[in-house]
Symmetry: C2
Subunit: 272 residues, 2 copies
């Protein structure tokens, strides 16, 4: 099925998910929409996040997507169940794939989760993990310093290393913890640093990588993988500044991204 | 949803898949059926494998399973598409999950697959891998010596090591191959040996582990995970000798398995 996969995010973070989709599903076309103008969603009230997310979804449904990926932890927490129930196409969020991968990976049944303050406060990761595996021990930690670091492009060197070391310090005491979920779409950009700080006994789970894997699983299950020979088409939309978006997207996707479209989202009255 | 997950295999190999289901989905009940009497399926004609598999499926449908796992490479190759189309419940095979995990894992886009002679001859793994990722380089190798080794319980020590070393020799020349799929449900029992021989630069993918992960994904997607507090129930059926089955199952599942039921499968006229 040649229709594109739709990816929505509050900003640029979901580009790490798009990057993994491109790598793991190289034949699939993708439409990415980042609501950069109203980013971040984390501090916003639940109703507002739902409204903004619905506006993005409505826009992408108009582009005839075959599947929706909510590449934003906050939007996943607030809208995944709702969207799964109301849309005719499959919907995948970023929380469940990382949780499932951690359960597959751990041998000690003791896992860690790091994310933004909003994601950690929402308790969505511990809830999702324990929903499947009640006896799992989960350690979580908010890492508010990481997103600014990544957005400034400071992803290696002494300053970045020192920030990562001091931030992750509270997790180092859990000697039995063998798996750590990167519960924020920005964190894969500093994955190597996090791995170095946590040591080789801890397996790092990137929710973007795992989300792409589950998109592949669901497309396979639904028999909607594209199997033709046309090259994939990638389209990008933002509600904010296109030049900044193009710069970050080109860096993160390691290819020249241009012709990013600026759009204005408006309130959706109903989802018909 | 409290209904059990049904697992079918030509014999005992699928117990490694059942073991992973128990580990990753500790709340789920499982019914396992091994057609030990007519094992192995590999050398049998396609029509016969389809008939035997349908007999197993028919038996488990009578047990009200919520999902079917075909924990047998040969049966997956011949019946997955057919069963996906004819059954109302989700059907998962063992080939696709390992293939998808390899694509997620590889960074060099060069992967290996080992399996029985039948599985390798069927070319199902290369086909599934290239179906998703056309440019992947795939090296495959039949390892006929491994199943007898595992079934005799020789999973460590000098003899086992030497068999693994000499068998895997042809794959050692592919210096760029960074991922190896264990394309046979017996092989996880000698995973450590295979890892040692291939070296730490090669990531080993166990199709059982990955199949359980995808079962979790699909149950989550379909909202049919069991979320109550009852302990899981495990039931085992075999068409062959129950004592041998109990001995192998107890060893592989690392728990005392008894009260295995012996059944006789009969030809299914239609799938109604």
């Amino acid at each position: 099925m040649k229709q594109p996969i739709g990816v929505i995010d509050s900003g640029v973070g979901g580009l790490t998910v798009a990057s993994e989709l491109m790598r793991q599903l190289p034949k699939e076309s993708i439409i990415y929409l980042g609501d950069t103008k109203r980013c971040p969603y984390g501090p916003r009230p639940k109703e507002e996040v739902i409204q903004y997310t619905m506006e993005m979804v409505h826009f992408l449904l108009g582009k005839n997507i075959k599947m929706l990926v909510i590449a934003c932890n906050t939007a996943t927490a607030y809208t995944l169940d709702l969207l799964k129930e109301t849309l005719d196409i499959p919907v995948v969020g970023v929380i469940q794939p990382g949780a499932r991968a951690a359960i597959t990976q751990t041998r000690t049944d003791e896992v860690g989760v790091i994310g933004t303050e909003g994601t950690i406060a929402s308790q969505q990761y511990p809830r999702t993990l324990k929903h499947i595996h009640t006896d799992l021990i989960v350690h979580d930690l908010a890492c508010p310093a990481f997103v600014p670091l990544v957005e400034k492009g400071i992803v290696s060197g002494r300053d970045a290393y020192e920030t990562v070391v001091s931030t992750l310090q509270p997790l180092k005491k859990y000697k039995n913890m063998d798996t750590l979920i990167l519960g924020c779409t920005h964190y894969p950009m500093i994955r190597d640093l996090i791995q170095e700080v946590m040591g080789s006994t801890v397996t790092i789970i990137s929710s973007g990588e795992e989300t792409a894997r589950e998109v592949s699983t669901i497309l396979g299950y639904k028999k909607t993988l594209y199997v033709g020979n046309d090259a994939p088409v990638y389209q990008f939309y933002t509600t904010g500044d296109t030049a900044i978006f193009e710069m970050i997207a080109s860096r993160w996707l390691e290819q020249k991204i241009e012709a990013v479209n600026k759009i204005h989202l408006t309130k959706v009255k109903s989802m018909d």
